[in-house]
Amino acid sequence: MIASIPEALGLLFTFQGLLALIAGTMLGIVLGALPGIGSTVAVAMILPFTLTMEQAPAILLLIAVYAGSVYGGSISAILINTPGTPQSAATCLDGYPMAQRGEAGKALGWATVASVAGGLTSALLLIFAAPQLAAFALNFGPIETFALILLGLTCIVSVSEGTLVKGLLAGALGLFLSTVGGDPITGEARFTFGDFRLIAGFDLLAVVIGVFALSEVLTRVAAKIEEDPPLVAFTGMVLPTLAEWRGRLGGLAKSVAIGCGIGVLPGTGAATAAFISYAEARRSSPRRANFGKGEPDGLIASESANNAVTGGALIPTMALGIPGDAVTAVMLATLTLHGVSPGVRLMTENPVLIAAIFSGFLVINLLLLPMGMMVSRISAPLLRMRESYMLGAIAMLCFIGVYFVRGNPFDLLVMVCAGAVGFLLRRQGYPMPPLVIGMVLGPTLEISLRHGLILTDGSFAAFFTGHPIALVLMALAAGALSLPLIRALRR
């Protein structure tokens, strides 16, 4: 991949490429800062704008929005004590107390530098680790692929903390939805109940946009109308000096390592990383007594870890075609829209495109610093905007995005139904990322399982003999599945 970088830079440094990087980062920060939108909805909102773009700029725009929104969440966390994205929830703990004592600019400065450090490190990890992982996975046959997807599915367990049964049930729902339509081997129609519109199956993006964006609109409409949040005084970002960093770099490095490590694990997510990193910093920091009262160490821990997750989450997504979370699941679906097949062959078949994406991701993380300084001032007044204006715009962009994917009005119906079902399920504590992960991984899981069984004359036991990689992967999957169960039983 390194050899493709010069050619990739040609794709990156075009007018459209640069525009995608700059506008995407800016939009991502603004959308991330607006409470309730979140990274997945932000990416879904931008999706229709990418449909007329070329491959590389379109994907770069989405990645820029993703990385920008994770950082942008810290702005509202610090200024109005409401995390713009769930990833920034831990940022409120020390960011808002700092802002309350008149240091909002300083708090944003700490958050920005920590985010950039986390993002840049994870971008380097992505550039060096993803190609190695993809090269290793190239030797996989159907049995190994099945074991790999099974391992990917166990990430459902990690995104279902506290609601394991409901998380797994949502995952089963997603797997089932992926089976509707033509059978991948015989071509016969399944679960269409005579409706020809279902023969092609449910459109993944229609379901994703429905269960995330539209269900969010319904959830907010159904919630109690809240007063406008109070905004603390903010005149601009103040970057911390080098002297102020003394004694904090070790903590930063530890938080970045936690974020990168957790990001690579499919499904764990930036919110988990931020809280684990915050808890670790609170345990080990010499200034632990100040945590929760506006301690910069707390801000550094949560912001560096959540941004470090972005690059980590892209590793299994790009190298193996296994989405790390709902946002990367949307991105995988978008790759398909732009004529790129996600999976283990993605890097060998599109080396220049992948090099452009990875280099672009590095540039995006560099851009977070100047863009953050600029956009935080614009975003601050936007935080006073009434939620209803955002909800209307989200609903309209959902319709546009889904309509343009296939130009099929039936997909709009699917989206609205998915939104209503998502709203009802979310109210009862069913997490939605497992549903999307199940739907994304379902087709590959089915094909690899059935091919594997055909190869072994229907013997599932043969999956465990003569396939050491599959055996290791299945053991890992069993471990990943049983550990939280044991923990839950102990509780």
């Binding site: 089932f176 679960f191 009434r386 504590g429």
Partner: protein, 151 residues
């Protein structure tokens, strides 16, 4: 009875019934006589067994548990859901502009916006700007609305 039969339990029970119904439907499907892994129902049945087992567990958890769903303004949510459904059905005939104007006006009204001029201004301006942007600038034509085909 009311204490046992909660909204949460109703959803779990519905999921259990849907899963069971889908499982039953796989026995009524007629496919070419291909056994084992070749059968189109092979994988869905495995998934549905998992679905039913998990839904049954969810029902038990919800009967035993005391957790309640948060309070909701059902009428507001239902009105917006119906408007969205209507927009999805009528998008081909009424076009993007009219459908979006209706949906956004309703969302603003049910979320506490009381100024009719502001509601009208937003519901006309935002869909019109989006229509112009996509249809004329990005050259991705959205379904046109009667009387407003020129947007």
């Amino acid at each position: 009875m009311g204490r046992i039969f909660s909204e949460r339990l109703a959803v779990s029970l519905t999921l259990l019934l849907i899963g069971s119904g889908l499982m039953l439907s796989t026995f009524g499907l007629s496919f070419a006589e291909l056994g084992g892994a070749f059968s189109p129902t092979f994988f869905p049945r495995i998934v549905l067994i998992g679905w039913i087992a998990l839904a049954a567990l969810a029902v038990i958890t919800d009967v035993a548990g005391r957790a309640r769903a948060p309070h909701a303004r059902w009428s507001a949510a239902a009105a917006v859901a119906l408007a969205l459904l209507g927009a999805a059905v009528l998008m081909s005939t009424l076009g993007f502009f009219l459908c979006s104007a209706g949906v956004s006006a309703l969302i603003l009204a049910v979320t506490g916006q009381r100024n009719p001029w502001l509601i009208a201004a937003y519901s006309i301006t935002v869909p019109a700007v989006l229509s112009l942007l996509f249809s004329h600038v990005l050259k991705m034509p959205l379904p046109a609305s009667p009387f407003f085909w020129w947007i």
